[in-house]
Symmetry: C2
Subunit: 320 residues, 2 copies
């Protein structure tokens, strides 16, 4: 099969063997996959795949079930699915545990469907399971125009929460507001001055892919019993912390990743997405936000768009 | 009534009015109260009581219900209770919401009963409600010979978890081991070297009253999905943090206090204590650990014992 491999730090179209299928796995004929920031790090050798995962990049896909393992009960050959992957999506075929694939929303095309699993699984896990989001909570998304940000804003709409964003450009603020965010601020020295004015009592939850650069300010704008969920470290690892503030406000800081989590946990996340989020997608209340679709041969260019933070929403790689 | 007030930074026996009783409150004729580190801070003006709470020190007591508000349903005059208080325990009478008082364990005397509410409520809240402790978890208690430490060790025994302690002296290690702790280390430069060797995968939960001085080392000895719960700042407020470690290990840091929490939360904690912990006390599987009992007139000396970290377990003030 065709797959995209990392060769001396560059992405290249190669030939690989079709992955083998364990008793609880399905093999998917990939129609479309999508790019995540983790792929950029893996390409640079900074984010090795977890033990047992494919060495091929790609954390999500849409496609058609081509083969099922002997113990598989929930999927059958021919099913149209989208799947959360521990790796291997940038290829013609990928294998994954059956419960990490859920039905493709019937109203979406392959490209749209491939843009959903990673961002919605990440948001569901962090907003609702880790972050215990509840009605009328106020949520701050850094990188609000990213795939995760645009998914998060829409989940806040659907689940009656209020969302706020920080982004890289004014145009991205407008996009996020059109999507449902209440306020937005552009990255820069005075950004947190603006953010501080939006909610007098602080945020209930901050979903943060930045890390150190925003850490102390994040805790200052986090409210009583607020949750700061760190899902990335684009702004560095080392910070200071004031524990007095943390304790008196009873805040919690949660480090979170999804890729290395157990299959059991991913099964719960995907089941919840199918039951609780897919209905909003099928009714068009939540929409996939796609910045651009590239072909497999354009993968380097697709990565560059994310590297340059140009994208609003997801960058997709089609195999159709 | 007699009460102990702070006058120019010193504790003194004074006369005060018997507190008024709201519709959902009970008035308790206090038989015994106990000392908490928060009292020491409040005496120094560093920990003002939360809005609406008594200015008098004292976060727990045992005694007899003397009067009930018109809407009280769960307690009646003459009931023997122990109670978690937002303040006011160092006095002949104290008022509190009815659900913060639960029956005195029948096998304990007044002094023993007064030593339970604050440490068991704090441990229950932080180990089980915030910290999601589950079977076979490994828990590290700093200040393991304190009231909270000695309660925590026994709760770990009762709920099938393994406990480890750091303490101030070798004698305290032995005491904690006799109580059920697996290992202990004495405070000092090489303490964390010892701690690191006890559990290869790290601790599931650390209950920490120290704060900054232990913070970075705490995170290093905390395991995958481990919870660091900060309940005090005896070792300072300002620390550094490595967010990379936090994220890859999916750890969580939780700032926690109980005094300023809602009556609703305290009601749940006290109900749980009564239902799930009191049976262990009444069967003598969990025992009150009392360092020394002082009379009201000896309160300054009682505080000094805690200030000097001499105590193993609780320091009690009897009014009998």
């Amino acid at each position: 099969m065709k797959s995209i491999d990392v060769i001396e730090g560059e992405l290249a179209l190669c030939e690989a063997e079709i992955p083998s299928v364990g008793p609880n796995d399905i093999l998917i004929k990939v129609k479309s996959t999508a790019i995540n920031r983790a792929d950029l790090m893996q390409k640079k050798g900074l984010y090795p795949p977890p033990p047992g995962a494919s060495e091929i990049l790609g954390l999500e896909c849409s496609g058609i079930v081509d083969l099922v393992g002997e113990k598989v009960t929930s999927r059958k050959v021919g099913d149209e699915v989208c799947a959360l992957l521990a790796g291997g999506g940038y290829a013609e075929y990928v294998a994954c545990p059956e419960f990490q694939a859920i039905p493709k929303p019937t109203n979406l095309n392959w490209e749209e469907a491939s843009s959903l699993p990673e961002v919605y699984a990440t948001c569901w896990l962090n907003l609702f399971m880790e972050g215990k989001l509840s009605n009328n909570n106020k949520v701050l998304f850094h990188a609000g125009a990213s795939g995760i940000g645009t998914a998060g804003i829409q989940l806040c709409n659907a689940f009656k929460c209020e969302s706020f964003v920080t982004v890289g450009t004014k145009e991205k603020i407008q996009f996020c507001k059109n999507l449902g965010a209440s306020e937005g601020a552009v990255r820069g020295e005075k950004m947190f001055d603006e953010v501080r004015d939006w909610v007098s009592d602080g945020f209930d939850l901050i979903l943060d892919p930045v890390g150190a650069n925003y850490f102390e300010e994040n805790l200052k704008v986090l409210g009583l019993e607020g949750r700061l969920i760190i899902i990335g470290l684009m702004g560095g690892l080392e910070s200071k912390i004031n524990l007095g503030h943390l304790m008196m406000k009873r805040q919690r800081i949660i480090g979170s990743t999804i890729r290395a989590r157990s299959e059991e946990l991913k099964k719960i996340v995907m089941r919840d997405l199918h039951e609780k989020v897919w209905p909003f997608i099928e009714s068009n209340e939540i929409q996939p936000i796609i910045h651009e679709v590239f072909s497999m041969s354009e993968v380097e260019r697709a990565h560059q768009v994310m590297e340059d933070n140009e994208n609003i929403g997801k960058i997709v790689l089609t195999l159709v």
